[in-house]
C-alpha cells in the first residue's frame, strides 16, 4: 500500500487567500494511500522543505505531493529535497494550486473543491510513479568540424584550445573557404589574406586538430556523445609526407587552360595545382578530369620534375573511421552565378560578373593582380554599374530572403574601384541599403560622400550589349521615376547567397532539418541559434543563412562553447522522461507488433527496430526500441501506438489515466 505525504502550501496569502488550505489538507488525509497530510505557510522555504524531509524519513513515505505553485517553478526544488531525504525525486509531484487555482478564481467553496480535486488527481498519479534514474550517456571528447572556412577554422581553434581533439574535414584541396577569395574585407578594408592566413596556419599546426582536406563526410551514425563518422579522403595523387610544396609540378604542367575555381572562372590553372599561394596545406592536387595522363594515358611531366618523387598516380580514396562526441556544421554558402538571370543575358555577356569575380579582379593574388580589367577585352572600365539585390528578395525567382552582406560588399567594391580608377564613374542600383553592423553605415556613407559613388535607388530591368557597351536599363525612383539608361563597361551583380552545393545531401546524412533553400535549420531562431534539433550537432556560419564574417566568427565561438560545455562532464546526464517500449515475458516478449508506424513520427529518429533473440540466438521477435540518448520525451509515439507498447516515463498511460479518473 503506498504511503503518500501531501504538503499544502499557503504561499503566504497567494493560495490561502482564496483556497482553504487546511480543508484541502484534511480532505487529502482521507484519501486511501495518504499517510501524512499537512499544510504550511511557505513550503518552498527551508523550514518547509525540512518538514518534507522529516516526514519522508519518519513515515517512510513512498510518494510526495506538494500543493503549491506551478511545477515549472519549484518542481526541481522539491524533487531535490526529496532526493536529499532518500526518496527518488521522480516520486514527487506538484499540484498547481496557485497559478491554476487560487490566483485565477474567487474565494469560494468551488475554488477549494477544485484544489482538492487537483490534489487528489496528483495523489492518484504519484501512486503509479516509478523511481527513475537520470540517463547516463558516455561522451567521446572529440569534435568533428565539417567545413574549413573561417567558421570551421574559428570553431576548431576554440575547441582545440579548450583542450579537446578536433577533426576538421574540408572538401576543397585547401582550407580558407570563400574568405580566402576576398580582396579586402568591410568595414575596415583590411586584406582578408592577412587576417585569415595566420589562422589557417594555426589550424594546421595545432596539436589537437587533425586536418582532412580534399575530403568529404561519407556517413554519420550514433547519437550525442557517441557519433561514429566515416570520412572519405579523396585521392590527391600526391604523397603529402614527401611533397615539400615547391610548386615545380604546377609550373611545368603542360595543361594550363583549366578555369580556376578559386578565381571564380576568371583565371586559369594547371591540371596539378595548388588553389592559391597561401593554401594550407600547401600540397598540390591532380584534377583527374583535365589531367592528360588520366584522360589519355600519357604525359607524366609532373612525376618527372618532382624533386621528391611525391607523385602517386595510383593513389586510391581512403575511408577513415572516427569517433566523435559532437559535430559542428560549418559548410558555408555559395554565390549565385550570373547565368541565373535571363534579363541580364543568361551569363552570355563576359563583362557581367558577380561579386566573387569582382573580388578576384580586385585581389592582388588574382588573375589581374589587382587591376580592375574587363574580362572581355582587358581594358580598364570607365563606367561600372553595381546591381544590388540580384536574385535576393525576389519571390518570382524563388529567393525571397535578403542575403544580408551584398549591400556592404557592393559599397566596398565601388570604393575599391574608385580607389584604383579615380576618374572612373561607379553606379550602384539598390532597393534599400542594409548596413546594420558596427561601423557599417559609416562605411557606406564614405563610399557615397568621399568616393563619389552614385547610388541610384531603382531596379535594373534589363542589360544588353550594344556597340561593345553594356546598356543597363533601370529607373531612378527617387528622382521622378524617369527611366535611366547607363552605357557601362562592366556590370557587377551582387547575386544572392545560396546554400553550398551538396548541403541537402549532407543534412540528410546527419538527419538535420533544413529549409526550402537548403540552409540548415537552427533549434530555435532566437534562443538556440547555434544548435540543431538533433542533439550533439551544432551550427556555425553561413550554412544557416548568409551572414558576414564578424557574425560567423562569433557564432563559431558560440558553437565551440556549446561543444566544450558538452565535453566538460564525464558523462551526459539527461532527464529520464523518455519513451520505453515494453518487454514482457515469453512467448509474447513485447506487446509491440513491430509495425514500425511510430518511427517516422519521431522528430529525433530515436526509434529503431531491435531483434529479440533467445539465448541460443534465434530471433523470436522484431520489436521497436527507443534510444534513450536521442529521445526528448515528446510522447508523440506513445499516443500513436495502437497497441500501447510504448510508454513515456513520467507520463505513462496508467498515470495519466489515473490522474484523469481522479478529477
Amino acid at each position: 500500500m503506498s504511503r503518500i505525504g501531501v504538503f499544502i502550501c499557503h504561499c503566504g496569502e497567494n493560495i490561502n487567500g482564496t483556497v482553504d488550505c487546511a480543508k484541502v489538507a484534511e480532505a487529502a488525509s482521507r484519501v486511501p494511500g495518504v499517510s501524512h497530510s499537512v499544510d504550511y505557510k511557505y513550503m518552498c522555504s527551508d523550514p518547509g522543505q525540512s518538514m518534507i524531509k522529516e516526514a519522508i524519513k519518519e513515515k517512510k513515505l513512498t510518494g510526495v505531493v506538494v500543493g503549491a505553485c506551478s511545477p515549472r517553478m519549484h518542481e526541481p526544488t522539491f524533487r531535490r529535497a526529496c532526493a536529499e531525504a532518500g526518496l527518488n525525486p521522480y516520486l514527487c509531484e506538484m499540484a498547481n494550486l496557485r497559478e491554476h487555482c487560487s490566483w485565477v478564481h474567487e474565494k469560494s467553496e468551488a475554488t477549494t473543491r477544485k484544489a482538492v480535486d487537483l490534489i487528489k488527481s496528483m495523489i492518484e498519479k504519484v501512486k503509479l510513479n516509478q523511481p527513475l534514474q537520470p540517463i547516463k550517456v558516455p561522451v567521446t571528447r572529440a569534435a568533428l568540424v565539417l567545413g574549413g572556412g573561417i567558421a570551421g577554422i574559428q570553431a576548431s581553434l576554440d575547441i582545440a584550445n579548450a583542450g579537446h581533439q578536433v577533426i576538421m574535414v574540408e572538401r576543397e584541396p585547401s582550407i580558407g573557404g570563400h574568405m580566402s577569395q576576398l580582396s579586402e574585407t568591410f568595414p575596415t578594408l583590411d586584406c582578408s589574406q592577412c587576417i585569415l592566413t595566420p589562422r589557417m596556419v594555426e589550424v594546421a599546426q595545432h596539436p589537437n586538430i587533425t586536418l582532412h582536406t580534399y575530403s568529404e563526410l561519407e556517413s554519420l551514425e550514433g547519437f550525442i556523445g557517441n557519433f561514429k563518422a566515416k570520412i572519405r579522403n579523396k585521392a590527391r595523387c600526391v604523397d603529402e609526407k614527401l611533397c615539400t610544396g615547391c610548386g615545380m609540378c604546377a609550373q611545368k604542367c603542360p595543361t594550363k587552360k583549366i578555369s580556376s575555381e578559386f578565381n571564380a572562372g576568371l583565371g586559369m590553372r594547371s591540371a596539378i595545382y595548388v588553389p592559391f599561394p597561401q593554401a594550407v596545406p600547401n600540397k598540390p592536387v591532380i584534377d583527374k578530369d583535365h589531367c592528360t595522363f588520366f584522360q589519355k594515358g600519357k604525359c607524366k611531366v609532373c612525376e618527372k620534375v618532382c624533386p621528391t618523387k611525391a607523385i602517386r598516380y595510383d593513389q586510391e580514396d581512403r575511408i577513415i573511421d572516427v569517433e566523435v562526441g559532437a559535430v559542428v556544421l560549418a559548410t558555408g554558402f555559395d554565390v549565385l552565378g550570373t547565368d541565373f538571370f535571363p534579363e541580364y543575358g543568361y551569363g552570355r555577356y563576359k563583362d557581367v560578373i558577380n561579386g566573387l569575380q569582382f573580388e578576384r579582379l580586385a585581389s592582388a593574388s588574382g588573375p589581374t593582380l589587382g587591376v580592375i580589367k574587363r574580362p572581355s577585352d582587358g581594358k580598364v572600365p570607365e563606367t561600372v554599374v553595381f546591381v544590388a539585390c540580384a536574385g535576393s528578395r525576389d519571390p518570382a525567382k524563388g529567393i525571397e530572403y535578403c542575403s544580408k552582406i551584398c549591400c556592404m560588399y557592393t559599397a566596398k567594391h565601388a570604393m575599391l574601384y574608385k580607389h584604383k580608377v579615380h576618374e572612373g564613374s561607379a553606379y550602384v542600383f539598390y532597393m534599400d541599403i542594409r548596413a546594420g553592423g558596427k561601423m557599417y553605415d559609416e562605411f557606406v556613407r564614405r563610399a557615397i560622400e568621399e568616393d563619389d559613388v552614385k547610388y541610384v535607388r531603382g531596379r535594373v530591368s534589363r542589360i544588353y550589349e550594344e556597340d561593345g557597351k553594356l546598356v543597363v536599363k533601370g529607373a531612378d525612383t527617387l528622382l521622378g521615376h524617369e527611366p535611366l539608361e547607363i552605357r557601362a563597361d562592366l556590370v557587377v551583380l551582387a547575386t544572392a547567397g545560396v546554400a553550398s552545393s551538396g548541403a541537402e545531401e549532407l543534412a540528410q546524412k546527419l538527419h538535420v532539418s533544413y529549409d526550402s533553400h537548403h540552409f540548415f535549420a537552427e533549434a530555435h531562431p532566437k534562443l538556440r541559434p547555434v544548435e540543431t534539433n538533433t542533439a550533439g550537432i551544432f551550427l556555425a556560419g553561413a550554412c544557416q543563412s548568409p551572414r558576414d564574417i564578424p557574425e560567423t566568427v562569433s557564432q563559431a565561438s558560440g558553437a565551440a562553447s556549446k561543444v566544450a560545455g558538452l565535453f566538460s562532464q564525464e558523462e551526459l546526464t539527461r532527464e529520464p522522461l523518455v519513451a520505453v517500449v515494453n518487454r514482457t515475458a515469453p512467448p509474447l516478449y513485447s506487446t509491440c507488433t513491430g509495425c514500425g508506424l511510430c518511427m517516422p513520427a519521431c522528430p529525433y529518429q530515436a526509434i529503431e527496430m531491435e531483434e529479440i533473440r533467445t539465448r541460443d540466438g534465434t530471433v523470436v521477435k522484431v520489436a521497436a526500441k527507443v534510444n534513450p540518448g536521442l529521445c526528448q520525451g515528446c510522447g508523440t509515439c506513445v499516443a500513436l501506438c495502437r497497441v500501447k507498447a510504448i510508454d513515456l516515463q513520467g507520463y505513462t498511460n496508467e498515470q495519466i489515466y489515473a490522474e484523469l479518473m481522479a478529477l
Binding site: L588, T591, T593, G594, C595, G596, L597, C598, M599, P600, A601, M609, V622, L640, R642, V643, K644, N653, E654, Y657, A658
Partner: protein
C-alpha cells in the same frame, strides 16, 4: 480462368515454391469457406466466383498457418491491397508469401514478387463505390442527434464477440488494447459505453490503414454496418490530406487545413 488458377496452385505446390495454397472452396449451405491446399491434386477443390470475397490475408499473420511453411494466397484486389499494407507494416516481408492475383475482371495475374503486386494494386484507384459513398453521405446529412440515435440503436445489438476484429487482416496485434486492463481503456461489458468506446477505438486504429474489404461487416452475426465508420475516415483522409501518405497519422503537412482550432 478457374482452370488457370488451379493449375497455378498445382505448379506452386508441386514445385515446392509454397507448402500451402490458401483459396476458396465450397462450404456448407450456399456458403464459401477458406481452403488450405497442401497437395497439388487437391487444388481442384479451389473455386472462384462472386461469393469468394473473404479477405484471406487474415491467415497470413496467424502463427499456425505460417508454421505450415510458405503460403500462397488467392488474392482479389482488396486482398492484394491488404498484403501491400501488411508489407508496409513489416508483418509480411518480400518472399514470405506468394500471390495468385485475380484482377477486377477475374483474370489470373502472375507477380514475380510482392513489390510488383504492390505496384499493380496501387495503380488501381482506391475509392469507395457509389453506394458506399451514398451511405456515408446519407449519414452525414443527418443532424447530430439523428446520427447519435442511429449509432446507439445499431450498436446496441453488439455483444462484443469481436468477430469484426478477428476477421480483419489488419487487426493482427497479439494483445489488442481492448484486452489491456492496466489501464482499462475500454469497458469490457457490451453496454452502451463499452460498445461505443470499442467501435471508436477500432475505427481510429484502422484510420489510414483500412482497405475497405468489408469483411468486418460480413463477419458480424448481426451485420452491423460498422464499416461505415472506416469508410467515413477513408473519405476524410482522401479529401483532407490528399490520400498520398503511406500512413496518414504519422505524417503531416505544415499547412494541413482545418477550420476548428482557435
Amino acid at each position: 480462368m478457374l482452370a488457370k488458377m488451379r493449375q497455378k496452385a498445382k505448379d506452386l505446390l508441386s514445385s515446392g515454391v509454397v507448402s500451402t495454397v490458401i483459396g476458396y472452396g465450397e462450404g456448407s449451405g450456399n456458403r464459401v469457406r477458406a481452403l488450405f491446399i497442401r497437395k497439388p491434386d487437391d487444388a481442384d477443390k479451389l473455386i472462384l466466383d462472386e461469393r469468394c470475397v473473404q479477405n484471406l490475408a487474415v491467415y497470413l499473420t496467424k502463427r499456425e498457418v505460417r508454421a505450415l511453411g510458405r503460403p500462397a494466397v488467392v488474392a482479389r484486389v482488396p486482398v492484394m491491397r491488404t498484403i501491400q499494407q501488411l508489407m508496409f507494416e513489416k508483418q509480411v516481408a518480400e518472399g514470405e508469401v506468394a500471390v495468385i492475383g485475380i484482377s477486377p475482371d477475374s483474370q489470373v495475374l502472375d507477380f514475380p514478387d510482392l513489390k510488383s503486386m504492390a505496384e499493380y494494386v496501387s495503380a488501381i484507384p482506391f475509392e469507395l463505390s457509389a453506394d458506399e459513398k451514398a451511405a456515408v453521405e446519407k449519414l452525414e446529412k443527418m443532424t447530430a442527434g439523428e446520427r447519435w440515435n442511429f449509432w446507439l440503436d445499431v450498436l446496441s445489438g453488439c455483444s462484443k464477440c469481436y468477430a469484426c476484429r478477428q476477421s480483419c487482416p489488419l487487426c493482427y496485434c497479439e494483445r489488442c488494447t481492448v484486452e489491456c486492463n492496466q489501464p482499462q481503456w475500454v469497458s469490457v461489458p457490451s453496454h452502451g459505453l463499452g460498445n461505443l468506446e470499442w467501435h471508436i477505438m477500432r475505427a481510429m486504429h484502422l484510420a489510414g490503414r483500412c482497405v475497405n474489404c468489408g469483411d468486418c461487416f460480413r463477419a458480424c452475426p448481426l451485420e452491423i454496418p460498422l464499416n461505415l465508420l472506416t469508410q467515413k475516415i477513408i473519405t476524410d483522409i482522401a479529401d483532407k490530406f490528399g490520400g498520398a501518405d503511406e500512413y496518414a497519422l504519422n505524417a503531416f503537412k505544415p499547412d494541413d487545413k482545418e477550420d476548428f482550432i482557435r
